[in-house]
Symmetry: C3
């Protein structure tokens, strides 16, 4: 049930291994702590075996990737699979460079992911070969709207089926889908795009939620998406600037309750 | 006209490629978003061609440089020149080590920069061979004062002429000059030196402003410097500490209007 | 005398070289500025000689270490010893991977440290070969309590004697000891564990305090620990979330006075 997935994160404190970018890494660590999980960041090949082993999950985020960390990501992903740990991909900037595209493609070929989360442009770039990505932000031509949301949910479900994973495609309407079921979530505010790293934070939160709710992974992922959006709604103030907004969003996740999620969750299931 | 340069940033949302340090990178990303630009951070050699190509500008910041990123910086700088994109250098810590000095010297030899921004000690170290840099902060012996400001502006203009670029030398009095004209700007507060990264933020802002105002680059750079200083004035509170000050400065840039810049700008042109 | 060590930091502005992780590096830079010291971050081998030379102290923090930075850390540590500069180790995550364990062991073999600071699990892992470390946070089985504090202080003193250094083992009760004397400090709040990087910040603060008080190193280290805990007490608000708590802690260090430390310091000496 929506709300219970957060309770389980708070009870089990999953330890999440993040191989991630140096832009938003501090926010990611703090948001994991805010939600009740524990972060560890490590990217040297020689400690991948050990760090993957002591953690319950791995999230690979391709922002500011480099040759050294790509090798660590791939190795850690395979190790995480071997140990049957939760493994999540956040292909930041896929489509922005051929390096990011072929790296993300190699990852989805060689590693089995429990979930793949990107903005809608990244998901389309990775799985449909479109290339409208401009930088690390979603392109407006890819917008999920009231008009096309059913069609888009069907496409995302089909990708989820082919990849045997959960796909999380974020935008004005977020889609969280497996082969059979899609959550269409309209929590959040457009001003969240003025804050760097909300997507990276969400990738880590999704990982924590799935890890603490492995028998209920799709709903758990959807609840993480709702929670992030709700935090964005509660934290917004037209008087504040974007850094204060960033800070208050993480604060709201720290203070989040299952009741708040239930009260504000705005979604439909198809 | 002062104020209009910000309007143009907000209308054109320039996408800025940052090869920068891991200390202040999150602030840099958020301040670019605050001013209406978009950041992308990327430093792997194999994606330099693609990332430079999709961006409108490149800013190279030498804080926490290493052998790998130095090669990427140089390559990206040349590529950015080839595409006639705006290219800016922020030689953080030049003079603090021979590596930083010779790297920055190689950059100014091999890459054509639209602007070079440093604190006054860094600018003097790079172009006059003085070596008073102590760490990453300006040395007080280099201070630009009411007494020496005309002399210093003349020196900076001459460097700008020789390098055929815009030089931005920051301090209590900031100098923004090309061969013919210098803005002497006294916005800002001394307490800004208790916040890490205001210089890095300024380097990125200058890049965004020049990119959105290419026919008016000198004034655009000067307006970015004024705006940062004004944000520092508006954000200051004697009750707050340095992190809250940092946060509120970026918030003030988010809320900045052309009118606020016009109202508070404190400068003379010589 | 407790309180005076902060005064000396504020008077002498020690320049501290940090080779540290990319998760908490921005907080570390800002907390050093907050306390009156100056940070410089640099990790490329080719500038280690120069950066170590211009600084008064070096702090090595092993979070997000990699092969390249390990080599720089070791080289810089030896150079710092050669120049008789203050040299401090913060073995983040030792015990979490064999790489971190053998790296930290190599460091304590080959470099002479003025202080080694870790959470109690890290200190036990490094010097007693226990391996209860789970990720980068202290394990509850290692807790220093009212019941075992004398026994634990004796153990820490013995390690300090063997290593001829100051050991700082943090937890609900912090122990700061050399061979002869141990401070048991109970400042701080449990909620500090919801903020990433308070340990990294403390490592840097300890370094600054020892550097500015070299004839009084043990007390200086203890005062840094007290100050961090007091900042945690003053900054706490049950209304705020963990990011605001992080921000206000650094703000409190910015506003800290010797009188505040004297007033709130909560410790015994054995």
């Amino acid at each position: 049930m929506i709300g219970e997935n957060l309770v389980n994160v708070r009870h089990t404190h999953p330890l999440i291994h993040n191989i991630t970018n140096y832009v938003t890494v501090n926010d990611v660590a703090n948001v994991l702590l805010a939600t009740g999980a524990s972060p560890i960041m490590a990217d040297d090949m020689e400690e991948m075996d050990d760090i993957v082993s002591i953690c319950q999950a791995l999230v690979i985020n391709t922002g500011t990737l480099n040759q050294r960390t790509i090798a660590s990501m791939l190795y850690a992903g395979k190790k995480s699979n071997e140990l049957q740990h939760v493994t999540v991909l956040d292909p930041v900037g896929v489509g922005a460079s051929r390096l990011r595209s072929r790296t993300a493609e190699a990852f989805v070929q060689e590693v089995r992911f429990d979930a793949i989360k990107g903005n809608i442009s990244e998901i389309k770039s990775l799985f449909l070969g479109t290339n409208s990505t401009s930088g690390v932000d979603a392109n407006s031509v890819d917008s999920v709207t009231e008009e096309n949301k059913i069609e888009m949910a069907t496409i995302i479900k089909k990708i989820a089926q082919e990849m045997q994973t959960i796909i999380i495609a974020t935008g004005a309407i977020d889609i969280v889908a497996d082969a059979n079921k899609a959550y269409l979530i309209t929590n959040g505010r457009p001003e969240m795009s003025y804050v760097t790293g909300t997507g990276c934070q969400l990738g880590a939160l999704v990982t924590a939620f799935i890890t603490a709710n492995q028998d209920n992974a799709l709903e758990a992922a959807a609840e993480a998406v709702m929670m992030m959006g709700i935090a964005g709604e509660l934290a917004w103030s037209s008087q504040a600037g974007n850094i204060t907004y960033r800070n208050h969003m993480i604060d709201e996740i720290f203070k989040m309750t299952p009741e708040t999620i239930t009260q504000y969750a705005n979604y439909e299931v198809i």
